[in-house]
């Protein structure tokens, strides 16, 4: 009895998944294994398709054919490129730090895989099913893990990925990568703040860190994108683009300035790992946006509770939503010029972080107001007035500091 209780407690700490709440038997392990393999292979496949998709769409927008040699419609181009890269010579600069140089690609790749573990990709959230499916007689969620820290795992992993890029640039022992990694560190760290604050608004509405619970709360089109009032979504998307180092925020690997940025000195499969990690992150980040703001795999299942309603339709909804965001990232890349380093910092610190913080406070005020039974309109207005006052003060202080900086002449600026 005590052992069962203990396992309950341990399982509770580990995960909310009903799979792990009972005794852990062989079938449980088998189910976990199946989920891991499916998620791994699925993610890898989607990345291969994503690379192809991106190249093809951009080629179309630029009056080119794009990949069309390997396989039907050039579908196997990514595989061919990967094979080519494996057979390339693996070079390491003489002045590189060998251990860190070799470690960095893994630090970049592994977090990209791990984040996907918390993304629910299927399961019906209608008819009181709460996303629970039955595999081999075991009840479980259609995600590799649903730990109690939930979405915080995503933040942790994206922070870890910074190390991959930072160390890669530093360990190369070369100047261009160093500049790239300095840019990367500053950019990713500051945008993580905006990302976290935008996330806080979602967590406030959802009332839980668990991704399953977040998706469950959005069932029936109560999507967070409008439940949180659109602003957190916009901020999250911008911050996510910056976090991914994708255009227009791709300063880290700005090829016109830094040649290849942090991965200039990498070749062969180590380069392939960075490349893979970048696209993995793109797919995972889109999946996270879908999970947080667009109800993940939830959607109309037309009362079906068989395999169509539990697997096919949710998968369809999930991937359709995912595709929208993948398209969005591709279109960004095809149309926008690149920001400059200081402009990215300005946007992050002077606009996104204050805006997401302000919006979070507004949501909190409305929430507290409704809990306490205050007049909601009055609460909202008072909160907005407070925020406007804060914004005014912020603008004043930014102006004042800019004026102060302009007054002090820069070193080496004439006599």
């Amino acid at each position: 009895m005590t052992s069962t209780l203990q396992s309950h407690v341990i399982a509770g700490m580990l995960a909310n998944d009903p799979l792990l709440s009972g005794e852990v038997g062989l079938t449980t392990l088998l189910v976990v294994l199946i989920k891991v393999v499916v998620a791994f292979v699925g993610l890898l496949l989607s990345v291969i398709l994503m690379v192809w998709f991106e190249r093809k769409v951009i080629a179309d927008m630029q009056n080119r054919f794009g990949p069309n040699r390997a396989g039907p419609f050039g579908l196997f181009q990514t595989i061919a490129d990967g094979m080519k890269l494996i057979f390339k010579e693996d070079l390491m600069p003489e002045r590189a730090d060998p251990f860190v140089f070799k470690l960095a690609p893994f630090l970049s790749l592994v977090p990209a895989f791990l984040t996907f573990a918390i993304v629910p990709i299927a399961g019906s959230f209608n008819d009181g099913l709460d996303g629970v499916v039955t595999i081999l007689g075991q009840q479980t969620f259609m995600q590799v893990a649903d730990p109690q820290i939930g979405i915080l795992l995503f933040l942790a992993m994206s922070s870890l990925a910074v190390y991959g890029i930072m160390l890669a640039g530093w360990a190369s022992g070369s100047k261009y990568p160093l500049l790239g990694s300095v840019r990367a560190t500053a950019q990713m760290v500051s945008y993580e703040a905006a990302l976290g604050l935008a996330l806080a608004s979602v967590l406030l509405i959802a009332g839980s860190l668990s991704t399953n619970a977040i998706v469950n709360g959005q069932a029936g089109f109560r999507w967070n994108v409008w439940m949180t009032g659109l602003v957190p979504f916009v901020i999250f998307t911008i911050a996510a683009t910056a976090e991914l180092n994708r255009p227009p925020f791709d300063l880290v690997e700005a090829e016109q300035e830094l040649v290849g940025g942090f991965h200039t000195e990498y070749s062969s499969f180590r380069f392939a790992m960075f490349f893979l990690a970048e696209f993995l992150n793109t797919v995972t980040m889109s999946a996270i946006i879908v999970t947080l703001f667009f109800g993940g795999p939830s959607g109309p299942t037309f009362g079906l509770t068989n395999w169509v309603g539990v697997y096919i339709l949710p998968l369809f909804w999930f991937f359709s939503k995912l595709l929208v965001f993948l398209c969005m990232f591709v279109l960004f890349r095809a149309t926008l010029p690149r920001f400059r380093y200081d402009q990215v910092m300005d946007l992050g610190w002077k606009l996104l972080i204050p805006a997401s913080l302000g919006w979070f406070l507004l949501l909190v005020a409305v929430r507290v107001g409704s809990d306490q039974g205050w007049n909601l309109a009055a609460t909202g207005l008072a909160a907005i007035a407070g925020l406007l006052a804060g914004a005014f003060l912020l603008i004043l202080s930014i102006r004042a500091s800019a004026a102060k900086r302009a007054a002090v002449s820069l070193p080496g600026e004439g006599t």
Binding site: D250, P337, R338
Partner: protein, 431 residues
């Protein structure tokens, strides 16, 4: 020049000298003048010396820059050239005047017809011959089209350097339309050897008006797309406005011409101010900026494409009938058919292509407005059939001098925008 106060010009010169931007000074001299402490090997401190190029994605060929950087900020920079030196000026002294055009056309490879034009004008001035009207109008037509293709190429590279990679393809696509016309007229897409001393190599092919009209119909719509993609784009404006600023006095004292000088508000265009060919018979505006920054240089080039199209439209209307080259047996080869029936024609043909034609003694400097600024050709003739000395004033070479000044205290990302806005062609710089 008269409109500029000499004292402001001098103060600008002093300022540039103290910046350490004037390359004529030796490094030690520049350092002494500016009171600048050059960092020593062990005392670099926070500063970093970075080498950009000659193999770098955005140094427009083989330009090399040595940058002294404080973090991402550039404290000093120095362009290093010579990686594409092919000795074209010296080669020019070994080639006859007729062969000369094949040589000079390879210098500014984005605007080959201007090189041929300025060389031919110089030779013609020495010879004292006047090209028939049609020949002059054809030359004008071709050079305006070349100005368009060169500026379209700039749109492509400028867009790409700032991360709008799609622009590279769009700019190239539009340039292709113009190049197709060049191929129809000259037989080649680059290095045409079409404009030669005495006229042009061949008359315009039949139906050229229709072909040109088709191009003139396509390009305005495409330019509107450029506006949508770049001119009005907030990121684009942020990246270019206020970056790489230069004043009119500074530009003049560095000898910068073309869009760089015009971007400062100093409207100097040889087509209007020292008309050559028939530019006094067409209407066009000289586009000038007001801030002297990268955005002005970008918009000037975009507007100049439109002005060139305006000129081309007028040329189509006004193109006169007549001969496209001088009928001087000493300068232009006889028609093929005449060689079969006339002994003299055969001799002339043989003489022109073996020995070349003799040019009277003298020296001459002729300048035209190329897409990059004042393109000049200086020829000294000793009376033989080859130039005694040929010198080209390449606008890219002179404009490149502005780089250290433009890049001072800017970010690394800005250097790319600045190099791009100067639009250097290394073939012309190194020659």
């Amino acid at each position: 020049m008269t409109s500029t106060d000499l004292t402001t010009l001098n103060s600008a010169r002093d300022r540039l000298t103290s910046d350490g931007s004037v390359l004529r000074l030796s490094e030690t001299e520049a350092e002494q003048k500016s009171g600048y402490q050059a960092p020593t090997e062990e005392g670099l401190g926070e500063r970093m010396i970075m080498n950009m190029g000659p193999q770098h994605p955005s140094t427009h060929g083989v330009l090399r820059l040595v940058l002294e950087m404080d973090g991402e900020t550039i404290t000093r920079s120095k362009p290093v050239i010579g990686y594409l030196h092919t000795g074209m000026e010296k080669t020019g002294e070994e080639l006859t005047y007729l062969q000369g055009a094949t040589n000079v056309t390879r210098m500014d490879y984005a605007a080959p017809l201007f090189n041929e034009l300025v060389f031919s004008l110089a030779v013609e001035e020495l010879l004292g011959i006047e090209v028939p009207d049609r020949g002059q109008w054809i030359r004008m037509l071709m050079s305006e089209l070349n100005r368009m293709s060169s500026h379209l190429l700039f749109m492509a590279t400028n867009g790409m350097d700032l991360g709008a990679v799609g622009m590279m393809l769009y700019g190239w696509r539009e340039r292709e339309e113009v190049l197709r016309f060049f191929e129809a007229v000259t037989g080649l897409r680059m290095n045409h050897n079409y404009i030669r001393p005495g006229g042009v190599a061949a008359d315009l092919p039949g139906g050229w008006e229709e072909e040109l009209s088709a191009i003139l119909d396509i390009i305005p719509d495409r330019l509107a797309e450029f506006d949508l993609l770049m001119t009005g784009q907030p990121i684009w404006r942020d990246r270019l406005q206020g970056v790489g600023v230069i004043t009119a006095e500074e530009a003049l004292s560095l000898g910068a011409t073309g869009p760089i000088l015009r971007s400062t508000g100093y409207a100097w265009d040889l087509r209007r101010d020292q008309p050559y060919l028939k530019y006094d018979q067409v209407e066009f505006d000289v586009i000038a900026g007001s801030f002297g920054d990268c955005f002005d240089r970008y918009s000037i080039r975009l507007a100049e494409i439109r002005e060139s199209m305006r000129i081309v439209r007028q040329i189509i209307e006004k193109m006169p009938e007549g001969d496209y080259r001088v009928q001087d047996k000493k300068v232009t080869p006889p028609p093929r058919a005449r060689i079969d029936e006339s002994m003299e024609a055969l001799i002339h043909h043989f003489k022109i292509f073996t020995e070349g034609f003799k040019v009277p003694e003298g020296e001459v400097y002729v300048a035209v407005e190329s897409p990059r600024g004042e393109l000049g050709c200086y020829i000294v003739s000793d009376g033989s059939s080859k130039p005694f000395r040929m010198h080209i004033r390449g606008p890219s070479f002179v404009n490149l001098q502005t780089l250290p000044h433009l890049m001072k205290d800017s970010f690394l990302a800005d250097t790319v925008a600045i190099i791009s806005s100067v639009d250097p062609i290394m073939g012309e710089i190194d020659r």
